[in-house]
Amino acid sequence: MATTNEDLKTIASQQYQYGWVTDVESEEAPKGLTEDTIRWISSKKNEPQFMLDWRLKAFRHWGKLVGKSESPTWANISHPPIDYQNIIYYSAPKPKKKLDSLDEVDPELLSAYEKLGIPLDEQKRLAGVAVDAIFDSVSIATTFQEELSKHGIIFCSFSDALQNYPELIKKYLGSVVPYTDNFYACLNAAVFSDGSFCYVPKGVRCPLELTTYFRINSANTGQFERTLIIADEGSYVSYLEGCSAPIRDENQLHAAVVELITLDNAEIKYSTIQNWYPGDQNGKGGIYNFVTKRGKCQGKDSKISWTQVETGSAITWKYPSVILLGDNSIGEFYSVALTKGYQQADTGTKMIHIGKNTKSKIISKGISSGHGNNTYRGLVRIMPKADDAHNFTQCDSLLIGSSCGAHTAPYVEVQNKSAHLEHEAFTSKVDEDKLFYCNQRGMSGEEAQSLIINGFCKEVFRELPFEFAVEATRLMDLNLEGSVG
């Protein structure tokens, strides 16, 4: 049989590869959410008073939102109501004793990360990549800290940062995503457990790729991490996060917050390869990935670039955004989102142009197959004082099979006449002429499909650091591996 779209319609998803559970003893907060839970988490982490106060303010605000049942309903997703009292908000592997070095980390945990392809021990580390490993609610290890500290770069868990650099946290926490921002960001502000913190000092170009690897392990837990990255004047950092979780029948909530800040002439490149457990073939289980990510180009001539490859999660709800405050600042968003099985993704970006001569670029590639539903939702807003702002948006969708959906909902708001905006979108199925051309050159249906889809995603993949681009390509192939008869 020749390859036709018919064949592509019978895509059988590859078994999720990261679905195993690590057997470690955990220390958990009691199930449910009250002020006591928050005090419990805060005291567990020995937090300064200002942190507890902030959490409590957030919790009280969240209480009001719950009271008015104001969880967001505008996205093109559907799920049963979430019982917030049936979630464990804190779960950490029990330390055997106080850790002095990586050698003392539970070998079970080290081997778990090794299985994920993220070796943490000295000899096997990935060259040129510093890793912060987050397991359920806490950071278990951060590599290359010494090397980074030579450059004055702080890269550590959020908990460590609270102990060692409270003034930095106090200054920047919530300055991009205030706890009042939205329902899930508010919940995160109240209960977040750990995350990564990074500060790159003036004029320093971070010599390593910084990586945080998130792993949900325990059942019934939610993961609420918070990442804060500050790039001081003239600095540069490239940061990558990866995520995975065991196969479980129930849905688990992941509500993270990421805040990025660039001062004058600084640049942050933030990449995500999101591969949370997507649920099974029938849509059972999987992670609800409700994440708020936002960067603020505070200084002039600064740049924030988001790249995301979203292949996992039962539901993805995230809009990595950039507030272009500094004159001449640049915001970019590159995204590949794949939905298969019964996955739902409602993702995109917001580019808020405030400063003069600011530029933004949005490239979004959605691929829908099976019963997946994929929505691009984006906002480009040009404020009245943003003279000579430029935006280019391109959001394309590819449909594989007749039971999936591909949707595009961009919002463009222009309040300054000197703005220049272009928006293009295109939706189609995998082109049969392209398939035939590849077949005629000897490639099988599957090879041809993989080639065409990777070509479709190329503009996004080439924004990823090299090793991760390879990883992303492989992930797409695995996810779309089908039976071509």
């Binding site: 591909a406 595009t408 222009v414 928006h423 939706t427």
Partner: protein, 447 residues
């Protein structure tokens, strides 16, 4: 504030009682039930609010309408002689078959439909109910959904007079049929609920002009609903010219159903109105049908013009094209939402949507929301949107050829909307639209 709104709803409810009484002698039971059903819907929903999460009205705040106290005229009170001749001339009465409504009531002096082909039925909607009761009942209010749209519900509750058009199979009407809705009253704060029901038979062809115009620069509310149903292989050109008073509120819904193989062309020209919202819904009910929907909006001062265009691809092998362009000046605000919806399990859908805005002032605002909702894989859908000001390089290019800067500007502004005008298939209307756009640009921008 909530109380104010409720009182106003009460006003409409009590007006409805008087209206129902006045219409009772001429209304059949199904009509009475239809209106009661609609007023109940309106009572239940009230006016839409721009509350967070209400995507439908995200950019248009209709609270000035909700808070206003608009009166319904229960009987014909105008005097046709008050209409200045120049106004009527301006509306090109002689080039068309004309059906004229003044302040909501049919004006028999101005109406001239005697030279229409005899097979064609064009009459007052209230007469159609008695001339063709079954036919009217089968189609009236069956397309424009009043269950989810408060303004449509309000119109349906108060519908009485309007245009009824039936073009039977194989009939082609030479001159366009113009339905003129004129606001002439010197009293402010009237509400009219103009209504059109147009149906075409197999292989028929005609041009419909829906023209909204005013004699005085008053504040009033025109709440319009048009239903246009195209039979198999029929061809309809639809020109919608909105030149209401600059203080008026204009809310309209045009619902178009495309039968198998039918062709629909529309051109919407927005020149007047303080707050304007036009809903255009096109449903491709039959295979091989196609539509080309186009619009120009020229806004100035504090005008707010919102065009929402929804194309529902409901059958295979259907094509849609959308092209809207706006020129914004003053503190005006223009919104365009275009949605293309492709139902599950269709084959060969081809849809393209473009919206472009030219901003001429610092305080003008353009919001665009072009969306796709696609549930079939055999599609080719594209959209493009752009906003910007006049290209400085282009001005330089023209001035370097000896053209003055102001002339260069004018040429480029005009050139911007020319693409839409060029899409008009008929030379006569192309020239006519061209003149209207020129007149408006002269009026608004002095060019």
């Amino acid at each position: 504030m909530i109380q104010v709104e409720q009182t106003n709803i009460e006003n409409y409810l009590s007006a409805f009682k008087i209206f129902e009484q006045a219409e009772s002698s001429t209304s059949s039971n199904w009509m009475i039930n239809l209106r009661r059903n609609a007023i109940a819907q309106f009572e239940n929903s009230g006016f839409p609010t721009a509350r967070r999460g209400n995507e439908e009205w995200k950019y248009t705040d209709v609270s000035p309408i909700a808070k206003g106290s608009f009166k319904i005229l229960h009987n014909k009170s105008h005097n046709a002689n008050q209409l200045p001749d120049t106004k009527y001339q301006q509306l090109e009465g002689s080039a068309c078959h004309n059906l004229v409504f003044v302040d909501g009531f049919l004006d028999e002096n101005l109406t001239n439909i005697s030279s229409l082909p005899k097979e064609v039925l064009v009459c007052n909607l209230s007469d159609a109910v008695s001339i063709e009761p079954t036919f009217t009942q089968r189609h009236l209010a069956k397309y424009a959904d009043f269950l989810h749209h408060p303004f449509t519900a309000l119109n349906t509750a108060f519908m009485a007079q309007g245009a009824f058009i039936w073009v039977p199979p194989n009939i082609s009407i030479d001159k366009p049929l113009q339905v003129l809705f004129i606001s002439s009253s010197s009293n402010s704060n009237l509400i009219t609920n103009p209504r059109i029901l147009a149906l075409t038979g197999e292989n028929s062809k005609f041009t419909l002009i829906e023209n909204h115009s005013a004699v005085n620069e008053n504040s009033y509310l025109a709440n319009v609903v048009s239903e246009i149903v195209l039979g198999t292989n029929s061809n309809v050109q639809y020109y919608r010219i909105q030149q209401e008073s600059k203080k008026a509120f204009h809310i309209s819904t045009t619902h178009v159903e495309l039968g198998k193989g039918s062709r629909f062309f529309s051109m919407n020209l927005d020149l007047g109105g303080e707050i304007v919202r036009n809903n255009l819904n096109v449903v491709t009910e039959g295979e091989d049908s196609s539509c080309s929907v186009n619009g120009i909006y020229i806004t100035t001062a504090s005008q707010h013009i919102d065009n929402k265009v929804v194309i529902n691809h409901n059958s295979s092998y259907t094509t849609s094209r959308e092209l809207y362009k706006g020129i914004l000046s003053g503190k005006s605000k223009a919104i365009f939402h275009g949605s293309i919806v492709v139902r599950e399990g269709l084959r060969q859908i081809d849809a393209l949507q473009i919206d472009k805005n030219l901003l001429l002032s610092d305080q003008a605002q353009a919001n665009t929301k072009p969306a796709f909702w696609i549930y079939s894989d055999d599609v080719k859908c594209g959209h493009g949107a752009a906003s910007g000001q006049i290209d400085r390089n282009a001005i330089f290019y023209l001035t370097s050829r000896g053209i003055s800067e102001s002339d260069a500007r004018n040429l480029l502004v005009k050139g911007f909307v020319q693409e839409v005008i060029e899409s008009i298939p008929n030379k006569f209307y192309k020239d006519k639209m061209d003149n209207m756009v020129n007149a408006s640009l002269l009026d608004v921008l002095g060019i």
